[in-house]
Subunit: 751 residues, 2 copies
């Protein structure tokens, strides 16, 4: 071989080696095993897969939701009853299904303090001869059966849960909505309320307050009914009501829990386990101190339309077809002799019973220690087709589709997802509250958001705007369309009519556009998540068009008429509204679970703060502050809010920049996500409201005042007007400033 | 060319190409820019660099610490005085130095509620003719100057901070340590305490309690002194004391804050900013209700050795060189006529003054949103060489070496480091507490640990074990050697003699080996970090060999003798103890900031829980529980602790496994680190101790009971023995079970 050939061979060899090195280095990606970049480099930065999301949406079927609802509402399933226990099994079966189930499930049991009527001795309201035992009128034991699917041996008779047993007897008065001001007005008319029985209508105040307020004036027993003016758009006849329309029939009675707090009443702040310390029943606050019983408007008419005394004020009049008088006692010439007494017979029994939460889990692939929570209660008062089964039917359809994708290996969320079917909500959000108590620390540290879908669809078609979805979140999801509507940001029209045993739907403020953050109140299971744990929460439903109905709530609410037939024929024939809710809620859930950067817009909190501030910085409110040396013109509250808004804008810019990076560091992403997640927590102050169990969120806490500013400030202000205690106003200004500054510090660039 | 040759060339060529590909793929690491794995893949998993740590240790110089101390203790620097303000500037100058400074600094100012004597009208304790103004004896205005560096115009006269002004006059009694039981014993002797002046010695109870307890018995004024038996190993003469030894001279007076809580007294739970709501002075709890004044033992001898009345019990006797009698009034034949009264003259003034925290920051490279905190207070009572400047001198040496490494580009920590020079600690941990109040949310969410080095070296050489380091942490750092001793796990011998205005050194329980976790109490600035925020805390110092001295604390504590000369000649000639403390504290700091997996051992909490449980599960304690239907034999507390231990063991196994992985996912590492970090938070319960400001840590809260179990349980038990209120015992059992279950849930495998 010549040297030239050797040289040529060496050059060719060197070239081949070089090409090989280059190919090896640049053309072949390093695998995860052995040397080279580890496998997680590929997955750790994965973002939401939009086509997978679309596939989820496509798979959500209205017919499946209808089937779910039929199964769920097939029999009464009041908390801890046989019907409830059977649904526990149904949930576990579905979530453990090898084809469509979740990763794992659990059943968490709490010993809940409940209250039931005595099946042997039905409650009643009776009119009798004074001093004697002869009853000349007694209210119905329960609703009339107007459809076949309504009849069942386990239909619980109407009662006021937690009202004490007793048989008070006295002259009847009509006390409007049982507000303190209503009783005061009767007192001002010169009526001696001592020993009377007050008949009141639902609305205006929480259920329990009607008895709590009455007792303060000496009232001995309370009767509650639903006026057709408040629920039926004034329709009162059988022809105009269910099964001929969605309106409440004359025999319909709204059951409910008569308590002013939420969570198990004997174990505030601690999970109601067997070992848990329980307070004495006498220490429970906010439940009726006197016997109380709800009745239908048919029976209410018999009582109210026969009352004597002054004519009731115009705003107290309703649609029972007569002029309302206030009593006391019955009029001459009416159905009852003028001297007749009314007796309230309550035989309720309080008992600790085991109530279950059914929990389902999907493990997150990249951030298993971040939780997206989704829940609804399982227990109803009777068949509960709408409340709560319309929500459970939607949840089961969501888990069916997700479970299928999971089991087929097509999907695993970035973050963990926890589904909760809560027990004993109707008695005061017990299951969800006990859950937050038991797992307080880890939920507080790890939860990204809680999604609640209780009543999915509030109104029948003519009464809802087709595109209307109920708002919503404590931090809004960045605008996106879902189903057939836009969610949360900005809502087109939102109303706040979610009924609630606490504090009652009418005390919730309606929202008006433009409005970015909705006040959730405490009407469903999100209450302890937002108020106690400071977890961003949302409640999703179709709601009403308030131009078309004035009903407080869908008319079959908490009655024996809330059946599958009612849902299928009136609320949502075809179940397309349910389908839209399922798609929307599932969409929100997937975005929260899978998005690389959490899809929550922190800036909208700035607007909310501005709005709450404005309410305090004008008119009488500001004048009174100034007059008491609490000048709000050059104030630290304004400065704190301005700082928050500026810091939030910077934060959004940093996120935009981060999203543009080709491959941002997973710890950088985690950092901004933690800032978003923990923003809500920065508004918590466990010292802010020492007299209100659980409420510690400075922006969203409940308030009694009708001032539209920060709740603690509003209540302190209203109180100071009466008592002159302006120190508490200053204290609550400090609390708000501190919370807003904390929130700003949370979003500020770290270190 | 033959086919053979061609084949050979092809084979060789293919081999070369293959070798090239293999080399290119495996032998040459992919760069971070352009194609291939992103740059953070290399840095995100970086662990502590041991040789860098060694280099840090090597650079820590004893002489630099000595120089720091000389500068820091050159003049008195009581909170908010000129001397303090000059140290603020010194700190800022050092931390802003271009060669040895930190990334950034800030000065945070709070309006602190303080208390000072009136320079125009010195406080005193005087003996006078009854009814007249003639004084026949008056206590010294301040300490005698025994060395040159002690003299300074700004030496504050001894006083009891927060004691109210007044001039009560009455007959003197000796009340031992001023415990409630001491006054009770005097009362039992038949002495009418009404209107008397009580002289008491330091120890046995918190400073303020001596007056609080006395006032309950009608005492009108309180005098406090340090008995040579308690501080000087009984040495009392000038020859035996400083400047001839480390013992307190006869004129020495321990100053101090007389308050029972910590943090700014007018703004509990809120930072003392200008806008902050302040409670009324009359609402402050835990400060002396009657004039109180500390004096030296020379003056105390004049008063006590002339008392009449019963001879004091043996345990009340001290080392003033006479037999102590209890009074009331002086004996015939003594220095004072039997009828002489004692008058306590206090002219203290309460005032809100601006006090600064100086903060220094080093930004973390990978996890900037995780904080390792390190701090000490800056303010002293007089020159404060030991308390607190020995700690500040150490901190400045640590920041010098770290700052140098940082500025030279040799090092940046994985996590952020925050240094704090706290203001107004001596008045009740004010600066550190206000800091935790202002930044509550982000500190709670992001802080890995807080390291406190206040008094670095407690005793002079003969009195400390050279290898002894004071314990320590609420979660122990996994065993490692540092300086010349082992830290925390397991400590060889640890004593708990850190003095404290709250609740007083003697009420702290000494620790005995084997003991893994120490109870920090509330004696220095770690208090709000551990008790309020639930941040793992530690306090590092050389402490005593209790076989060699019985001194409550180093004898110059809070006196005018706590000077550089005292430190240089007696406490630590050569400053090698200081050096060891600096190396140890810096070592802990670097390990916490740089270790990939946090070097905290969660399992040791299991031992602590066992120990607290054992104290409740035996003897009288258990018998009483059983007698009151609180059986602890088959109990949920045992089950919860067992679950915790099992979960902690599993957790450690997962960590071991994770550490063995070649390149674990950064989010997996972050997950376990968050579990370690948040374990301490799981023990918080803001509802547990409603009457104790800030205390919310169920394991480490303060207690009054001497039962060695969980603090809330111990106090409830002791109270139940008196009142029969066993419900509170059950409640605190629930609180403990819930906290332990929460802690277990935090460590449990996620999802």
């Amino acid at each position: 071989m010549s040297w030239l050939k050797i040289l040529g061979a060496v050059i060719v060899g060197a070239l081949l080696l070089t090409v090989g090195i280059l190919l090896g280095h640049f053309a072949i990606p390093k695998g995860g095993n052995g040397s080279g970049a580890p496998s997680w480099v590929q997955t750790v930065g994965r973002d939401l897969n939009e086509s997978l999301l679309q596939s989820f949406m496509d798979q959500v079927e209205s017919e499946k939701i209808r089937e779910n609802l039929k199964a769920l509402a097939s029999q009464p399933h009041m908390a801890t009853t046989k019907g409830d226990e059977e649904l526990v099994k149904l949930l576990l079966r579905r979530w453990q299904d090898p084809q469509i189930g979740l990763d794992s499930t659990s059943e968490d049991v709490y010993g809940a303090f409940l209250s039931f009527p005595d099946p042997q001795r039905p409650n009643s309201v009776a009119v009798g001869v004074p001093g004697g035992g002869i009853k000349i009128f007694t209210t119905r034991r329960s609703e009339k059966n107007v459809t076949a699917d309504q009849a069942h041996a386990d239909v619980v008779q109407p009662y006021a849960a937690y009202a004490p047993p007793g048989n008070p007897r006295g002259r009847l008065i009509y006390a409007n909505q049982g507000k303190r001001s209503d009783y005061q007005e009767l007192f001002n008319m010169g009526i001696n309320l001592n020993g009377t029985i007050a008949i009141t209508r639902y609305g205006g105040t929480g259920r329990a307050d009607k008895a709590v307020n009455g007792a303060e004036f000496g009232v001995a027993g309370v009767v509650v009914y639903t006026d057709p003016a408040d629920i039926n758009d004034r329709r009162a006849s059988e022809e105009e009501t269910y099964p001929n329309s969605w309106y409440m029939p004359p025999s319909g009675v709204e059951r409910g829990s008569y308590n002013g707090y939420f969570g198990d009443l004997l174990t505030p702040y601690y999970p109601a386990k067997e070992f848990t310390y329980r307070i004495k029943e006498s220490e429970i606050q906010g439940i009726p101190p006197i016997p109380t019983q709800p009745i239908g408007f048919e029976d209410a008419q018999t009582l109210i339309c026969n009352l004597s005394g002054h004519k009731a004020p115009a705003s107290w009049q309703g649609s029972l077809g007569c002029s309302y008088h206030v009593g006391p006692g019955f009029r001459t010439g009416g159905l009852f002799p003028n001297t007749s007494d009314v007796q309230v017979n309550v035989h309720n029994q309080r008992v600790i019973k085991n109530s279950s939460n059914v929990m389902g889990f999907i493990r997150g692939s990249e951030e298993p220690d971040r939780y997206v929570l989704y829940g609804n209660h399982r227990d109803s008062w009777v068949h509960g087709a709408i409340d709560p089964s319309s929500g459970t039917a939607v949840m089961l359809e969501i888990t069916r589709v997700l479970g299928k994708m999971l089991k087929e290996g097509k999907w695993r969320p970035r973050r963990s997802i926890i589904f909760g079917s809560w027990g004993a909500e109707e008695f005061g959000l017990i299951g969800s509250t006990e859950y937050t108590e038991e797992f307080y620390s880890k939920l507080r540290e790890r939860s990204v958001a809680y999604i609640n879908v209780d009543i999915s669809v509030f109104g029948e078609r003519p009464f809802v705007l087709p595109a209307l979805l109920r708002s919503c979140c404590t931090i809004p999801i960045s605008a996106f369309t879902a189903g057939d509507g836009k969610l949360c940001s900005p809502p087109r029209d939102v109303s706040h009519s979610r009924p609630s045993p606490l504090p009652g739907p009418e005390s919730l403020t309606p929202l008006h556009p433009p409005y970015s953050l909705g006040s959730l109140g405490a009407g469903s299971d999100y209450a302890s998540f937002i108020h106690y744990l400071g977890i961003t929460s949302m409640d999703i439903a179709y709601t009403y068009d308030r131009n078309k109905t004035s009903a407080r709530i869908y008319p079959a609410y908490h009655t024996a008429f809330d059946t599958f037939d009612y849902a299928d024929r009136f609320i949502d024939p075809g179940f397309t509204s349910h389908q839209a809710v399922a798609r929307t809620a599932g969409n929100v859930l997937l975005r929260l679970a899978d998005s690389l950067v959490l899809p929550l817009n922190v800036s909208d909190y700035g607007e909310k703060l501005d709005e709450l501030y404005s309410a305090a910085a004008q008119g009488d409110f500001l004048d009174k502050l100034n007059a008491n040396n609490l000048s709000l013109g050059t104030d630290p509250l304004k400065a704190a809010i301005d700082r928050f808004k500026s810091v939030a804008a910077d934060f959004n810019q940093r996120i935009t920049k981060l999203k543009k990076e080709e491959s941002p560091s997973p710890l950088q992403i985690r950092m901004v996500n933690d800032q978003i997640m923990l923003l809500e927590r920065a508004f918590l102050n466990p010292q802010a409201f020492p007299n209100k169990y659980y409420y510690s969120h400075v922006i969203w806490a409940s308030k009694s005042s009708d001032q539209a500013t920060f709740p603690g400030l509003a209540d302190a202000y209203t109180n100071a007007l009466e008592t002159g205690d302006w120190d508490q106003v200053r204290k609550h200004l400090t609390i708000v400033v501190q919370a807003v500054e904390s929130a700003a510090s949370t979003l500020e660039a770290v270190a």
